[in-house]
């Protein structure tokens, strides 16, 4: 909690900002806002890469073994652009890896966490700026190693993003397991180190650096989402890191943690053994189930803030919302086994995980009802960020409900590893989180760059993406209904799935167009950065503390000492004339 007076504070930092030169200011910056933007830009670039990888998958499912025009040579590397079967497994592996570890996690925690936490709680920066800078620069070894893995002998990893041994451990089991998997593990460790440095910093900052008057229950939901996410990261990540090291040792030192006795593949007999392939799955999902929440809680927080702002109405059920994310965080650690119902795990254990999983649906339901409650009786302004936020609610209903099928163990026997699952997690992660991130970019862009994005083009971008994503992902439910398995390069030589080709072609064409439509966003983003209308401090008439700082905020963030009087959701309060009541505005004198 800073006690410096306003003028000393801002004067002091104005010097810093210009003293360092280009390299200190924009590259190796200690400023949380610059670091946040660095995360944002690198995530958006990887988002593009991950999208291209998805196009390869969709091409193969629509036109199996036909040479892929334009992208084929780049993605598949084989003659004439035909996607070889081993390259198809590489595409699914790397699409998921890139989207999860290089896009969603860094864009939520890295970009928005960094940019928003100090601004929303009234701090001048993160608690440990150097750690913050390192958390970004540890991503680069990961980027380089993962990028390089495409070019080593055998190509990038092919064991799925879940990297189940023995496929991922025995070098001869798949071309991608030759070298690519080793690089995959090294890159993931780097991402882990980066996330860990970030989360320690976030927790400390949120606990220690809040402005006077900013009590925990006056924090915006975004901050609650980031806070709980940081806790989840800190407790779950060490397990993944340790498991990754064990797999690395299995591969390079012959330890055999995850190999049964006499393990063999492709005529190569492994000397090591005595381990258990299922052990990896337990360790992996002990991290990766909480990671699902790491990938959605911050998005839920940002959506809550946007909904309340543009409904011009207080957030419905603030405390139940906070308690539900707390509940999700707690339960999130005892449901990992729902990924393993048919893995060979003790079926008795399956029942336990099933009950816990059913219960974790409850906090999500509570949150959804509260979002609807927020809209009820408001005065909704249909701005671009609001449309994305509402679409998050609408899409999360689908992604949440389809999860119940998987939690029901007997049904999961049938739909496990089918397109039903693919539909489910794309509704959560793409239709949910990615749409929330788009909304958040449109919403906080004025704070980031001091200029507004074009609202009309934003709406065009929204409407097209919204319609197309549903055309892409909703039919995947009925694909899964037939048992259509995921990760199959050519499913059509099974009698059961032969009639699904036309539907897959429809999905693929919608996906191609959807990726193309994102050009509208890219142009709008860069054009507005330089030529958008000036935003001013508070273009949306929001209550949040970040909107009281200059746009963009200078080094040190606030040009006054923030004093907080109330929570961030006092829209339409009878105490004031205007329909908003900023957190820093003193109550009217009696």
């Amino acid at each position: 909690m800073s006690t410096v007076t306003a003028d000393v504070h801002s004067g002091d930092h104005a010097d810093h900002a210009h003293a360092g030169g280009f390299l200190r200011t924009y590259v190796f910056s200690l400023d949380h806002k610059i670091i946040g933007l660095q995360f944002l830009f690198s995530s958006l670039i990887w988002f593009f890469v991950g999208g291209l990888l998805a196009l390869g998958i969709r091409w193969q499912l629509a036109y199996p073994w036909a040479p892929m025009p334009i992208l084929g040579n780049m993605l598949a590397g084989a003659e004439g652009g035909q996607i070889a079967p081993e390259n198809y497994t590489m595409l699914v592996t790397m699409h998921a890896t890139v989207m999860i570890f290089f896009v969603i996690i860094p864009v939520l925690a890295g970009a928005f966490g960094n940019f928003l936490i100090p601004l929303m709680i009234g701090a001048e920066d993160m608690a440990v700026p150097v750690l913050n800078m390192l958390s970004y620069w540890f991503m680069w070894p990961a980027f380089i190693v993962m990028g390089a893995s495409f070019f080593v002998e055998g190509g990038a990893a092919q064991g799925g993003w879940t990297s189940y041994p023995p496929l991922s451990v025995i070098l001869e089991a798949a071309p991608g397991s030759l070298n690519g998997q080793t690089l995959w593990l090294i890159a993931l460790t780097m991402v882990g180190i980066s996330s860990m440095m970030g989360s320690v910093n976030y927790m400390t900052t949120i606990i220690q650096m809040r402005a006077p008057g900013m009590t925990m229950f006056r924090l915006p939901m975004t901050i609650w989402g980031m806070f709980i996410t940081a806790i989840l990261q800190a407790f779950a990540l060490p397990v993944l890191t340790a498991a990754g090291f064990m797999q690395l040792l299995d591969r390079v030192a012959g330890t055999g943690f995850f190999l049964a006795d006499g393990a063999t593949a492709n005529n190569a007999l492994m000397a090591s053994g005595g381990g258990q392939p299922l052990l990896w799955q337990h360790l992996f999902w002990f991290y990766s189930h909480p990671a699902v929440y790491i990938m959605i809680l911050p998005a839920m927080g940002m959506v809550s803030d946007i909904l309340s702002t543009f409904a011009r109405k207080p957030l419905f059920g603030y405390k139940p919302m906070v308690y539900s994310i707390g509940g999700i965080a707690g339960l999130g650690f005892i449901v990992w086994g729902h990924h393993m119902f048919v893995s060979g795990m003790n079926p008795m254990l399956g029942m336990t995980f099933m009950v816990a999983t059913m219960m974790i649906a409850l906090p999500s339901a509570i949150k959804t009802f509260n979002w609807l409650g927020t809209l009820w009786g408001g005065k909704i302004q249909y701005t671009t960020p609001m449309l994305f936020a509402i679409s998050f609610v609408s899409m999360f209903i689908i992604g949440g409900l389809s999860g119940i099928f998987m939690a029901a163990t007997p049904v999961d026997i049938f739909i496990h590893d089918t397109y039903y699952i693919v539909a489910h997690f794309h509704y959560v992660l793409f239709a949910g989180t990615a749409m929330a991130v788009f909304g958040a970019i449109y919403y906080w862009f004025p704070k980031m760059f001091g200029r507004m994005m074009n609202d009309a083009w934003g709406k065009v971008h929204f409407a097209l993406t919204f319609v197309l994503l549903n055309c892409v992902f909703f039919p995947m439910h009925i694909l899964g209904w037939t048992g259509f398995p995921r990760r199959l390069a050519d499913p059509y030589h099974y009698e059961t799935f032969r009639n699904l080709l036309p539907l897959n072609q429809f999905i693929s064409w919608c996906a191609f167009i959807m990726v193309g439509v994102q050009v509208i966003f890219v142009i709008n983003f860069f054009w507005s950065m330089f030529f958008g209308p000036k935003a001013g401090r508070n273009p949306w008439h929001s209550n949040g503390l970040e909107w009281q700082a200059p746009s963009p905020p200078g080094h040190g963030n606030f040009d006054f000492q923030p004093q907080i009087y109330r929570g961030p959701y006092e829209y339409g309060s009878p105490e004031v004339e205007e329909d908003y009541y900023p957190q820093t505005q003193p109550p009217p004198a009696e």
Binding site: D261, Y318, M354, V355, A361, I366, T409, F466, T496
Partner: protein, 258 residues
Amino acid sequence: MKRFWSLLFLLVPIGGVATFLVAPYFNIVLPRDVSVHGRVIDNLFMFILYLTGAVFIVTELVLFYFMWKYDAKSNSKPVKYSHGSHSLEIVWTILPAVTLLFIAIYQMDAWATAKMNPPNIKPHAEVTGRQFNWDFRYPGGDDELYTEDDIVRTDGKLYLPVDEDILLKITSADVLHSFFLPNLRLKQDVVPGMTQSMWFKAKKTGGYDIVCAELCGWGHYKMKGRVFFLPREEYDQKILEMAAEQNTMRVDLPDEDE
């Protein structure tokens, strides 16, 4: 504009319901169920589909209605300055909690039948997944696996009697695979070093797909098999035939690489 945006969101429940209603006309449905226990799983699937479908339609319609009604331009009333409602929170906590708990308990039987209570019989065959083939070993005349007269087949065709309890031992020779029988609503990952069981009873004769449902390498997509359910006499005949074939082919025990 409120018309446009709220109607756009109304497309979600309409399109969602329409997709599931139209799919059967294109034969996109649960594959034909030929097992005795499969109906329980299908009923559970449909039960959850109707239940979540109802919740889906109601919540999406509420969202549409709010978007329509509370548009800033047409709603002249002041906003409801409300921070929430205790009684509502309690209602929408308890209702889903009870429903979810009900589903959890309701399905336990089906799970136990499929995965926890194997019939007390000798295995009809051993299934081994290997990159990229399903191998089958039948016990032969003495009904015991791993003896001299075992029949080992690597042609990806599994023959079993219809209308009888079937017990299979399943395992893997190399990496993970998953033994998936869509028409019997059964799936079980096979793990090297672990021998597991799978049991069921088929009620229709004919040939059905065996699908590998766990990524196992570049040839995962072609790791295909067929299971044939035969009337008892035909089945016995087939076993004799395969035994005779094996004797002329002089296949070495215990197993052979292709």
